[in-house]
Amino acid sequence: MQNNVLEVKNLTKKFGNFTAVDNISFSLKEGEILGLLGPNGAGKTTTIQMLLGVLTPTSGDIKYFDKKLTENREEILEQVNFSSSYTNFPWSLTVKEVLTFISYLYSINERKKRLDKIVEMFKLDSLLRKQIHELSSGQLTKVNLAKAFINFPKVLLLDEPTASLDPDVAKYIRDFLLNQQKEFKVSIILTSHNMAEVEEVSDRVIFINNGKIIADDIPKNLAKSIKTSHVDLLINDGFKKTIELCKEMHVSYKIQGRHIIVDVKEKSIPEFLRDLTNNKIYYDEISIEKPTLEDYFLYIANKTRL
């Protein structure tokens, strides 16, 4: 059985009368990647800040490796790191200077060797002499991630780890994270707006809304809880009739050129396709997309807005 590296119990944060995080409890296992999702303002960032000790909880307990964060901050933070898009580095320092001074904040053996390895792992050679303000947002994200690995962390908190990265670099980072998980049993909590990414890398997903955990499951199960599939049709004849049929059946649809994408409950798909035939609607192509984590996210986000 895997050990819990992080345990959060009844964590609450209130700002005056507003409750940003409301009595949440969860754990993170050794080598597990946990996606922390929720609409803007749901309480994700507040939770991460409390987990890092840069925000004092109103109540509740945070334990890493069976030790309370408040009482063992120094020892715990030696083994934890984070990367986020809402912080920055001293803008006039070079990448090399930033990584060097941050490396001295941790007890690292063979510091120089570790820095060289980090540069190699994140392909930072060409950026080392650049000042932070000269970097593109994608390059900055890369430096942020490199910084997060500097101390051989056992637990990593990543807020939007691939934000602003080119698709190929984002893919490289995702593979890198999965590799670190496998090879060194690094446990990771990540937030991302890229649902496909969360689905791809997370072993488990926690969904937060209005400061409360509303779901805690594997991504597949969360997606499954949405019973609607997307039926994508390239209509040959009967475009208007299809729209009328959708209205009659009270199903939502989206038009994209000659395509019409209809949201149909999984069990009603055969009936829908039969109705198309009965109405003499002909299509050249059809694809059925199963619900994804993104659908779950949109469902929750829409519910919140309502």
Binding site: Q49, L77, S84, P90, E97, L105, N151
Partner: protein
Amino acid sequence: MKLHRIYAIILRFMYLFRHSLDRLSDAFYWPTLDLLLWGVTSTYFRSYLPQTSQIVLVILGGILLWIIVWRGQYEITIGILEDLWNRNLVNIFVTPLKFSEWITSLVMLGIIKAIMSFSFGLFVAFILYKINIFTLGFYLIPFALLLIITGWWIGFFIAGLILRYGIKIQQLAWTAPWVISPFSAIYYPVSSLPDWAQAIALFIPTSYVFEGAREVIEKGTLDPNKLYISLLLNSTYIILSLIFLKKSFDKVLERGLVKL
């Protein structure tokens, strides 16, 4: 306390020092300009009032000693502001760095920069006006210590205010030490102040140092009570300012470092 973490913060600011024209001009340009301006002015006074033979040493000595107060305070408050401007506080406090180590680093930076600026000022004053502050002899050591402690408690107090109220009050970083300067009697005796200001000067530790420095220059002696009173006041203020700064930091953690 871990030395490598203190070194990390010092290293971060020394890198910045290398890249920043602002910080370089703070360290060298302004002290030089002050020395030039007041050197010429005091030399002119001396030529008209021969009985004030020590006036150049008194004024330029005052400027040089004030550099120590200013650098001690400035490194603490500007250090905190730099991390606020760069949104870097979260980056350093998600590491094992302790609050006490952070403050120690800024204090040590104050010492390093004070030595740099003071030495440079000494050199400029000697080259331009043949002024040698070492005429104060060994008294220079307690004077310098007392002055830098004053710089620290002003710095801690302003840093605490900046942490509480944010960068909207950042102007205090540059202006705050000057609030006590009129009562410090840098260039003139306390007795030349109006009565109400003399009463305030009694509670300003730097006034005893500058009075003492003039006494040494003029009479070659020093009443040790001046040093004791200054030390007592400084000790009180530094304890109070540290408590205030720690409480301000704890208050910030309740709101979240990210929101600063």
